[in-house]
């Protein structure tokens, strides 16, 4: 099906997958290159759309000492690329109930004491496939700027690649999730429009109209629904 068709005149290129060399047509993503070469991939695939973070991968290019990371469902293989999937990177996650925390800024240091030990190496930022300034988010969390964390990290796909590199061994994405939840749950005011609508629903303001609609004949209901 769609996923491995070889385009007309596609050039064949060499890639290394989990330490073995293969030749695949140009223009495939890493995951598609794995399918093309007959790999069954289950750990390492989720959405195939670049949002679930299941397909974290590490790769190297020849003659380049840099270690690169990417989302394998979104990244095209290149000539002589060598890659492996890292479908799961274990990380520490705190257990809390965000609604019940009295001082969310203080609590961060109980839940994630390691957040204060960032050594500014910036490896997390360099590795992030979403282009998030992860180091900045960690510092903002530590200083209690949860709004800033929110603005900087909404696109985090929780792939865990930042954890894989952190020399302070923390899980920046979990810390950022805590900070965003604290901001949304406690710092932002509960939205008025939602509050008022719930009060009206609870006091039954809409019930009569809904029951009236349900009691109509299909034809009557249809004519009420037509946009005039």
């Amino acid at each position: 099906m769609f996923q491995y068709e070889k385009p007309d005149n596609a050039k064949m290129i060499k890639v290394g997958i989990n330490g073995k060399d293969w030749s695949v047509p140009e223009g495939l993503t890493m995951i598609q290159a794995m399918w093309y070469t007959g790999h069954e991939v289950i750990h390492g695939i989720g959405c195939l759309g670049g949002v679930c973070g299941a397909c974290a991968a590490v790769y190297r290019m020849p003659g380049d000492f840099h270690l690169h990371n990417a989302l394998a469902c979104q990244t095209l293989v290149k000539e002589n690329m060598a890659f492996s999937l890292i479908p799961s990177f274990p990380s520490q996650r705190a257990d809390y109930k965000i609604e019940t925390i009295a001082d969310t800024k203080e609590e961060l240091f109980k839940l994630y004491p390691e957040s204060a030990t960032c050594r500014n190496c910036n490896a997390c930022t360099e590795v992030c496939p979403q282009g998030i300034d992860v180091r900045d988010a960690v510092w903002r969390s530590v200083f209690g700027d949860f709004k800033g964390v929110t603005e900087g990290t909404m696109s985090c796909v929780m792939c865990g690649l930042c954890v894989s590199r952190c020399i302070a061994e923390m899980a920046p994405h979990e810390i950022a999730l805590y900070a965003r939840r604290a901001y949304g749950s406690q710092e932002l005011k509960f939205p008025d429009n939602l509050l008022h609508r719930m009060e009206k629903i609870q006091s039954g303001d809409f019930d009569a109209e809904l029951s009236r609609l349900l009691s109509l004949s299909p034809e009557m209901l249809k004519s009420e629904c037509e946009v005039k």
């Binding site: 769609f2 385009p7 989720g46 949002v51 509960f190 939602l194 629903i201 809904l210 609609l213």
Partner: protein, 540 residues
């Protein structure tokens, strides 16, 4: 992107001149004729009549028949014996870890029930995490639950279940409030209210979203709470069969541990299916926007137990799925780009449909162009039409695409296409399963103690779903069904493991034998699509 990269994508070497003249407006007769002729649901090819089961006689796509009229993995290739004791024994087994399953689990736990969640991939790897657009909830001063119901009913071509819809619209605000308290970050307006945008087919602005990461934001938060809840989670353990208890009731399920290859047996006093949609069946050969596990497993398992399905001929094809670069085939380009002024052109550079027509009309028009020879051929042999976003920047100012659609721009640029200057090639993509397992407002199916919620159900939306109503459905019914299924499980009369079996599977197999006389039927559920090449790779 550098100029030579552009040229290296062969389709950009000789683009036609794009002629911006408006396409002729459609009369409502022309619109109906277009739909009848080209919309995949209405076309006769690729359809078949079901011969076995509760929907015997219904005409459905062949791919659907191939997951319903299937052989059981428990009986083939060799019969599996039921072990002397189950691997788990719970009040409620929830099958599927997307939005509906996670929500249900969190509420079920509050009743004190013992709950187990089994899912195919990791928790949260689902269609839910992919949702970009938002959630419909009637919050505006000029809006009401009744108005929401009317829009949804009209959007479903007057085939939706009004009772289910009334639950959906009435309970929406409450479940959204549950999310806000958990810290889900919906966009706010200047006064701190939930910002309301207008979505397709609605008469009021009522779409709330978390930038274009609505599903991701939901899943990140709810998944964290589920992982912290103490509820046991069996990941990479898809269900392959339901189990039958006393009086043809549902009494648990058999799961497949994909790593060990072993079956796991779960005795459950209630079972909830939340297995989501069917995009990965590639119905009609269409690409899909759905996640890797969307293979309709719940439909097949429930059908084998005798549960009736509704509207299984009805699917939503989103008009603008990427078809080139072909490695991105199926990925959605949001409707909002057409709202902002993006244009569709055929191979001759002519516009052929008003871009603001409804999804089904635009999809049909694209299919018409391609089947009448006015599509653009991709290197991989597919056809598509040009979706040109550059008009947005021309009309609304340089940089608009970058500001409003950063995610599309980012994703396309990873594939060497600058979509603010170059067209994307699109073709309709299989997006949503409108129909599914029939259930009442507590998620009860006609099979005793079998509950369902989410995209795997049918009825609520009728034959067409409006954007934003499915996430709401997943939340509202996840909540409701989680509670009612947990309570039903806890209060159920005790039965022993010896009373549990798969008599329903044997009966279904017999029905297949007598209808198909030796014709080989596929095994089900499918579990995973297989995109590997038949031959092994060209080892270097």
């Amino acid at each position: 992107m550098s100029p030579d990269q552009k040229e290296s994508l062969p389709l950009y070497a000789n683009l036609p001149n794009f002629i911006t003249d408006e396409p002729p407006a459609l009369t409502s007769e022309q619109r109906m004729a277009l739909l009848n002729r080209y919309y995949p649901d209405y076309r006769p090819e690729g359809k078949t009549t079901l011969r076995v089961g509760a929907n015997r006689g219904n005409v459905v796509p062949e791919e659907i028949a191939n997951i319903l009229e299937t052989r059981s993995r428990l009986l083939h290739p060799e019969k599996v014996e039921r072990p002397s004791a189950p691997d788990a024994d719970v009040d409620l087994l929830i099958i599927g870890g997307g939005g509906a399953g996670i929500t249900a689990a969190l509420f079920a736990k509050e009743t004190g029930a013992s709950v187990l969640v089994a899912t195919k991939l990791r928790i949260g790897d689902s269609n839910t995490v992919m949702a970009e657009g938002g959630i419909q909830v009637a919050l505006g001063d000029d809006d009401s639950p009744a108005q929401h119901l009317k829009d949804a009913y009209r959007g479903g071509h007057f085939t939706g279940d009004t009772e289910l819809l009334s639950v959906l619209v009435r309970e929406g605000p409450e479940v959204i409030s549950w999310l806000v308290k958990k810290g889900v970050l919906f966009d706010r307006d200047a006064h701190g209210n939930l910002a309301l945008r207008k979505g397709g087919g609605t008469t009021r602005p009522r779409l709330i979203s978390a930038k274009d990461y609505t599903g991701l934001e939901l899943v990140r938060v709810l998944k964290e709470d589920l992982l912290n809840s103490g509820i046991p989670i069996w990941a990479f353990s898809p269900a392959v069969e339901l189990l039958e208890g006393p009086d043809s009731s549902c009494a648990g399920a058999v799961l497949l541990d994909v790593d060990s290859g072993k079956f796991k047996w779960v005795k459950a006093r209630a079972v909830m299916l939340a297995t989501g949609g069917t995009g990965r069946l590639h119905i009609g050969g269409f690409a899909t926007s759905n996640h890797f596990g969307a293979t309709g497993d719940g439909l097949g398992m429930a059908y084998r137990m005798g549960a009736p399905l509704l509207h299984m001929e009805s699917f939503q094809y989103h008009p603008t799925g990427v078809i080139y670069p072909s490695e991105m085939a199926g990925m959605l380009i949001t409707e909002a780009v057409r709202g902002a002024g993006a244009r569709l052109y055929n191979k001759d550079g002519k516009r052929f449909v008003n871009e603001l027509e409804t999804r089904d009309v635009v999809a049909s028009a694209i299919i018409r162009e391609c089947s009448e020879g006015r599509g653009v051929r991709t290197g991989a042999g597919h056809f598509g039409v040009y979706l040109d976003l550059s008009a947005i920047d021309r009309e609304m100012g340089e940089g608009t695409v970058a500001r409003r659609f950063p995610n599309i721009l980012k994703l396309m640029s990873k594939h060497d296409v600058d979509c603010s200057t170059h067209p994307i090639l699109v073709y309709p993509t299989l997006h949503y399963q409108n129909g599914g397992i029939s259930a009442d407002k507590e998620g009860r199916t006609p099979i005793d103690h079998l509950y369902v919620a989410g995209e795997t159900t049918g009825g609520l939306h009728g034959k067409n779903r409006l954007m934003g109503n499915s996430l709401l459905e997943v939340l509202v019914f996840g909540h409701r069904v989680g509670l009612s299924a947990a309570k039903a499980g806890m209060s159920r009369k005790p039965f022993s493991w010896q009373e549990v079996g798969f008599g329903h599977v044997e009966r279904f197999e017999q029905a297949l034998d007598s209808e198909f006389h030796g014709v080989v039927r596929p095994e089900g559920p499918l579990l995973f699509p297989d995109y590997r090449r038949n031959t092994s790779g060209d080892s270097a």
